[in-house]
Symmetry: C3
Subunit: 146 residues, 3 copies
């Protein structure tokens, strides 16, 4: 992600982005797969090594991937919570919004103590469609394998 | 908590809610029990299984509960830090504000390494009284026992 | 840090402060030492026991300290991510901005599971110089040694 010259971030955009991620992640972590996929654009790209080492492209493949991840979690009795912090929000001249965040992935197996599974950095390109923010491009890197 | 139709969140409310939680949690974690209870309404309800398996109702009982929790912590030499992330803020038509957040509860025993004690979800109904936000209803669920 | 009478925080300031910390911490954690030091004032003071038990004063000494910390990390093969939450932002009458935050310091050694290294509280005094926020005074305390 090439950073453009830094602009002050409009206050409304910063709050909107935080709210967007809260809703997006709640949908994802709660297994509302269809609604979660709707927070991506039709032609979205998603890369998250080592599990997703080639970009997943398009909503259909994202949906299949999220469904598969849900099944794996259900079988293992685990629940994920992705805790985003340190969101650097950079609106670009082309109307997209770049967001770089830290993500602590907390995993809980029923009846066991919750634990930090992975420390990640999430770099997203958001676009606006019919007034709503959507994820157009996501690259997640994990500190333990980066 | 029944979600109403989603409205865009006014920017000012989003920042105000974040600031409210920061102050509220600092008071609670620092053992300022009386001031912490003042961030709830007189008739507030608080439910947090498995420890608090029946709703605690009203400021008097909340105060007693927080004092008891403080004594337990003091005896064990432990300190709590509740780290809220992913706040989804939803103002309702009746003037209340629904907030759903992730909470990492970090516990530190003096001289020992800090550790993740519990991963929780906090669902609050906030109301406005004399201009100030107050907690009217709180339900906390823990991933390891949910 | 002596708290003044609490004022409602202007929304724009709250978002600006969050964005400031995101950028500041990304620079620090990514090892961009020179740019990270530029987020402090020329006469900044930094105290963080037990490692930094006497205040480091001025950009030159900060730079030397950050470079030394970077070398230590590089040798150990570790990476730090400082995750700020619960930011209480209090603009003061003298134009400074007091910010009290929780900081989870997550450390990852390449190829090993990420872990919570320390739970800290960061108390900063920010000032505005040529329109930009800078750190004038920082005191970090760790729960395990406080």
């Amino acid at each position: 992600m090439v950073a453009s010259i830094e602009q002050p971030v409009p206050t409304a955009v910063y709050a909107e982005v935080q709210q967007f991620y809260a809703r997006h992640i709640h949908l994802l972590d709660d297994g509302h797969v269809t609604e979660a996929v709707d927070t991506f654009t039709e032609d979205a790209s998603f890369l998250s090594p080592p599990k997703i080492s080639e970009p997943v492209r398009g909503k259909e493949d994202l949906l299949a991937g999220f469904h598969a991840a849900e099944r794996t979690l259900a079988q293992s009795g685990e629940r994920y919570r992705r805790c985003y912090t340190m969101m650097a929000v950079q609106p670009q001249e082309d109307g997209t919004v770049h967001v770089r965040s830290y993500v602590q992935v907390i995993v809980t197996r029923h009846g066991e103590v919750s634990r930090l599974h992975a420390m990640c950095v999430c770099e997203d390109v958001l676009v606006r469609q019919n007034g709503e923010l959507k994820i157009y491009d996501r690259v997640v890197t994990r500190d333990d394998v980066a």
